[in-house]
């Protein structure tokens, strides 16, 4: 059988949720995944320590030559990260883009911060006059957030923040020494310092075991103690008997029928390089923001000379991303010489400093919208501060030990805003080894984002002073792409002339074509994307199920203001 009800391209947060929802509704689903199926026991090495590896975790020379850094390391099977499918950038664009195309994609390795977006985000344009509102309200998406949180398990607390709606939470992780010190400093500046929303299980949940705090989550969790598509979604889909999962299947283009409607997908088998086709009544693209646009832009036909469903001309445009960078780092003298403490066994964000800017008045700062911070520090796997200490010998050793509990830093998560300069298109010449025309990224940080960055570095100086820490400096912003939070290439909106998809992620032009990833988001807000991808994908998937029930696959959605 090579004809299905639905083809889903991608198996990450968006694809995985669609696959589960559609299969459980009794639909026959073919899932195409560009990479391999990981075997956690073999491919995740999160319980290994540096000395277990030939290059001590620094990576082999080959890895270093090819790698984009990041989680693509000796701690993970090299096939977990993409090294074959190439992309290009326009001149002047520095785009750093580690991609995981393994089954489950980036959910295998994600940072697990899982905050809801809010009405302040969805109606930001109405507040400050920049760009356009999302075509949905918070009330509309809130029930889906709740169901997703209750399904995946998110540890946090009720916080009553205007831009951060509260949800259904497991008990939070406990504050460490540095959290109390940071919080005491933040309070003096009237900045919030609170438990993060972490999709990491502080107790057993829905058949998944609790976290055992080994501390290397971003190398993959082989017990599945945090949400990932392969542990939480795909097994439920497989259990229905309705899923045909094809791995190492690289989608090349969406095929259309005589009327220009989607009828199937042409893909390349990674190993054999064979080109195959598969057919369905409905196509869901969830290949992650940029690859989704690439597949659609590469789907050119008599009907769609500029890419399928691109009547608006907006396909691939409006790319946004989070600026990451260390806005301040230093150390906490209060903790000099203190016993070593397991500060990093939760692998990251026990706490966060959620957006506090431009909440009462959308124009109170020199920039619009807002950013958040993630603190880090404490006893880590490597004493990276060694160059701060003068000397050598026994005294040098003992000073390293004394300083060991004290490092502290803040990572900023600052959203870029929509800009005509930031987009993806198809490189006119270059193809990858599979013969697929490469996607080309064009991206610069906009002035607003850089103003946020400058603001964040000043806040850090004040915060370090308020908490009694020694401020040592800040990094430069990471190059774009690094956060892996791209949004916007298939933005949703009510007007087919200006938006690729409607408010359900359904193509305006090709009603049996849907996008179920962050490509439909209007911008990236100050929150992370995964929880929202899950909520929006759940909503879209149930909308598709309803379409099948009514047999009405050819119509769009009624406009709702």
């Amino acid at each position: 059988m090579n004809t299905y009800d639905v083809i889903v391209i991608g198996t990450g947060a968006g694809g995985g949720m669609a696959i589960k929802t559609l299969c459980e509704a009794g639909l026959k689903v073919c899932a195409l995944n560009a990479g391999l199926q990981l075997e956690p026991a073999k491919d995740f090495r999160e319980h290994k320590l540096p000395y277990d590896m030939k290059f001590r975790g620094f990576g082999s020379p080959q890895q270093q030559a090819q790698s984009l850094g990041y989680m693509d390391s000796e701690y993970v099977a090299s096939d977990a990260w993409e090294h074959e499918i190439a992309y290009t950038t326009t001149e002047g664009t520095h785009w750093t883009w580690p991609r995981s195309n393994a089954v489950g994609g980036k959910t295998n390795f994600w940072g697990r911060s899982a905050a809801r977006m809010s009405q302040i985000d969805f109606k930001a344009a109405s507040r400050d006059g920049y760009d356009v509102d999302w075509p949905i309200s918070y009330e509309e998406i809130a029930p889906y957030y709740k169901r997703v949180e209750e399904f995946i398990g998110v540890a946090s607390t009720i916080q009553n923040r205007p831009s951060n709606p509260d949800g259904s939470y497991l008990p939070p992780m406990r504050f460490r020494c540095m959290d109390y010190i940071l919080q005491a400093g933040a309070q003096k500046l009237d900045i919030p310092y609170l438990p993060d929303r972490m999709a990491q299980l502080t107790q057993a949940h829905n058949g998944h075991p609790p976290c055992h705090y080994c501390g290397n989550c971003t190398e993959g969790c082989d017990v599945g103690a945090f949400f990932s598509s392969p542990y939480f979604l795909l097994p439920l889909a497989q259990a229905t008997g309705n899923l045909d999962l094809r791995t190492n299947a690289i989608a090349r283009e969406i095929l259309v029928d005589e009327d220009g409607r989607a009828k199937g997908v042409a893909y390349v088998e990674r190993e054999s390089r064979r080109e195959l086709e598969v057919y369905a009544k409905v196509i869901v693209v969830a290949a992650s923001c940029i690859t989704t646009a690439q597949i659609m832009l590469n789907s050119r036909s008599r009907h769609w000379p500029a890419g399928i469903a691109n009547f608006s001309g907006q396909l691939g445009k409006n790319l946004c991303d989070h600026l990451y960078g260390t806005s301040g780092y230093g150390y906490m003298p209060q903790l000099l010489g203190q016993p070593s403490f397991p500060d990093n066994v939760t692998a990251g964000t026990v706490a966060w400093l959620p957006r506090w800017q431009n909440l009462q008045n959308p124009r109170e700062e020199k920039f619009i919208r807002g950013y958040s911070f993630y603190p880090g520090g404490g006893c880590d796997i490597f004493p990276g501060f060694y160059d701060d200490i003068e000397g050598y010998g026994a005294s040098y050793r003992s000073e390293i030990k004394r300083r060991y509990p004290t490092p502290v830093s803040l990572t900023v998560q600052a959203p870029s805003q929509r800009s005509d300069h930031n987009y993806v298109d198809i490189d006119p010449v270059k193809k990858d080894v599979f013969g697929i025309p490469q996607v080309r990224v064009s991206f610069q940080w906009d002035d607003n984002t850089l103003k946020m960055w400058n603001h964040s570095t000043e806040v850090c100086k004040a915060l370090f002073s308020a908490m009694g820490a020694v401020y040592q400096g800040h990094s430069e912003p990471q190059s774009p792409g690094w956060s892996l939070h791209e949004t916007g290439t298939c933005r949703m909106g009510n007007d087919p002339a200006h938006f690729v998809t409607n408010r359900f992620g359904q193509s305006h032009d090709v009603p049996n074509l849907y996008a179920c990833d962050a490509s439909v988001f209007l911008n990236c807000t100050d929150k992370t994307t995964t929880l929202s991808i899950l909520a929006f994908s759940l909503r879209t998937s149930e909308y598709i199920v309803d379409k099948f029930k009514t047999g009405d696959l050819a119509s769009g959605a009624p406009i709702q203001s």
Binding site: Y213, Q334, L335, F341, I400
Partner: protein
């Protein structure tokens, strides 16, 4: 989000090794760095002592290698620390140094694997030997004389303008010594690295009643 914990990421970025190590023959000492416990075992039982293979440097000449080994131990020497034991008396415990855990092997293999590092180490070691003049080499100096040179390189107050290349080599040598040492079990244990175990609940601060942690 994609992973906020910056440390390992930065750690990985800290090095860019550019070439393949196709003829790697294995290590002698740091593969056996866990063997201290094995040593006790050997004494207690009839098990034959493990024969440690002799490490043959891949990049350094024998004399360079001896200098690297010597420098690594000078930078991170074995030390005696008082450990408050469960019984009342504090006792002195020997913590292994760079030589015990084979830091020189790590450095040789790393430099062998990364051509860009090779001239920096080779030139630096040559500089050090020249600084030892009229003695023939750094390693032939007395401990006192070695410290006199290293102090000039390591501490800003003793820096000499003419010795900038030596100062840069010292920073490089110290960096790779730290990398080679604190990535061994012994190195991590000397920090009481708390990630060598699992926890049933998320570990929390033990003095929440003192949020500013003053006067600990």
């Amino acid at each position: 989000m994609a992973g906020q914990g910056p440390s390992r990421r930065e750690l990985i970025q800290a090095m860019t090794i550019a070439a393949a190590a196709s003829t790697f023959g294995g290590f002698a000492r740091w593969n056996f760095a866990h063997a201290e416990s094995m040593a006790h075992h050997e004494q207690d039982s009839a098990i034959k002592p493990l024969v440690r293979p002799v490490y043959t440097p891949h990049f350094f000449t024998p004399s360079e290698y001896r200098t690297v080994d010597e420098l690594s131990e000078l930078i991170l020497p074995a030390v005696s620390v008082s450990a408050a034991s469960k019984t009342t008396n504090a006792r002195s415990v020997r913590q292994p140094g760079a030589r015990d855990v084979g830091v020189a092997e790590f450095i040789d293999f790393t430099v062998f694997s990364e051509p860009a590092l090779q001239p920096r180490f080779r030139d630096g070691l040559r500089w050090l030997d020249q600084a030892a003049a009229p003695a023939s080499s750094f390693i032939s100096l007395s401990a006192e004389q070695q410290h006199a040179i290293l102090n000039r390189l390591a501490y800003a107050k003793y820096h000499r303008k003419s010795e900038a290349p030596g100062q840069q080599f010292f920073i490089l040598m110290r960096r790779y010594t730290v990398m080679g040492f604190y990535t061994t079990r012994e190195g991590l244990e000397s920090l009481d690295f708390p990630g060598l175990t699992f926890y049933s609940t998320s570990p929390g601060c033990t003095h929440p009643d003192n949020p500013e942690h003053s006067g600990l």
